[in-house]
């Protein structure tokens, strides 16, 4: 599965593709929802590692509109529960992640994203 927590950490790494190579754009996705244990402390600790706008955009691409455009000052339970769901419970099982810059497509098959590059694409 590609969860949004991982998607928020993946960038295009084709040789020479160094600007506008994050986040990767979803296309033709099949998603599954799977419950995960709610851990507010983990979420609060992970917030500083997230690119928020990228997460919000990705969640909207997958049909979820619960995240606010900016991280709120008060991290209340509702916010954390929505964040939990978006980060950890939406699994992209099939689809494509595409680089907005060089348009390289990284396919997701059986939940595993193929991030391998052809020889000429490796830096």
């Amino acid at each position: 599965m590609v969860r949004l927590i991982t998607h928020n950490l993946l960038a295009c790494h084709v040789k020479g593709c160094t600007t506008n190579n994050f986040p990767l754009q979803f296309r033709d996705v099949q998603i599954e929802l799977r419950e995960a244990e709610f851990n507010p402390e983990f979420l609060k600790g992970f917030l500083s590692k997230l690119e928020w706008k990228a997460l919000v955009d990705a969640s909207r691409q997958l049909g979820d509109t619960t995240l606010p455009p900016d991280i709120p000052e008060m991290l209340d339970d509702d916010f954390l529960k929505n964040l939990h769901h978006v980060l950890l419970e939406i699994h992209v099982e099939e689809g494509i992640m595409s680089c907005p810059n060089c348009k390289h497509d990284y396919p997701i098959l059986n939940g595993i994203p193929n991030m391998l590059l052809a020889e000429h694409e490796i830096g």
Partner: protein, 170 residues
Amino acid sequence: MIPTPDLSHLSAKDYDHVYEPAEDTFLLLDALEEDEKELKDLHPSISLEIGPGSGCVSAFIGKILGPSVLYLCSDINPHACTCTRATGTQNKVTLDVINASFASPLTLRLKHAVDIILFNPPYVPTIQEEMSDAQDKCSISGSWAGGTDGMNVTNIFLEHVEVCLIDLQP
């Protein structure tokens, strides 16, 4: 004493393509278990394993540290990716797996952000060509063919460690 992860879902057929846990795997598990306190004291958020193979090691550290950690696994071998994910499921540890070379797609976002990096690398000394051939084929020989002094793959890995590992120097 933390039990070795359950690998009963993997068969001989899987081990045609994926490294079957052996003495070196169990040595790494022992070392992790010995360092349980230090690992927990890190209050880690991200663990990254390169070349998880069967998924045994990440499933194990998942049992040590519990669900408040993101367990990333990157393997060049697609069979290993499938096995690793299944091993996570079998052992009730969520492993987020990517089919990739080292941490290449993660280095932009994970500069000095990873708390724990794990790798049981291919370390058998071979000719350079055998190592690079194995890596190109993304096959099981990539799990042992280590090139010159058995160090070629490890040396590349160490470059990634330098980029991704949290810098504890003040």
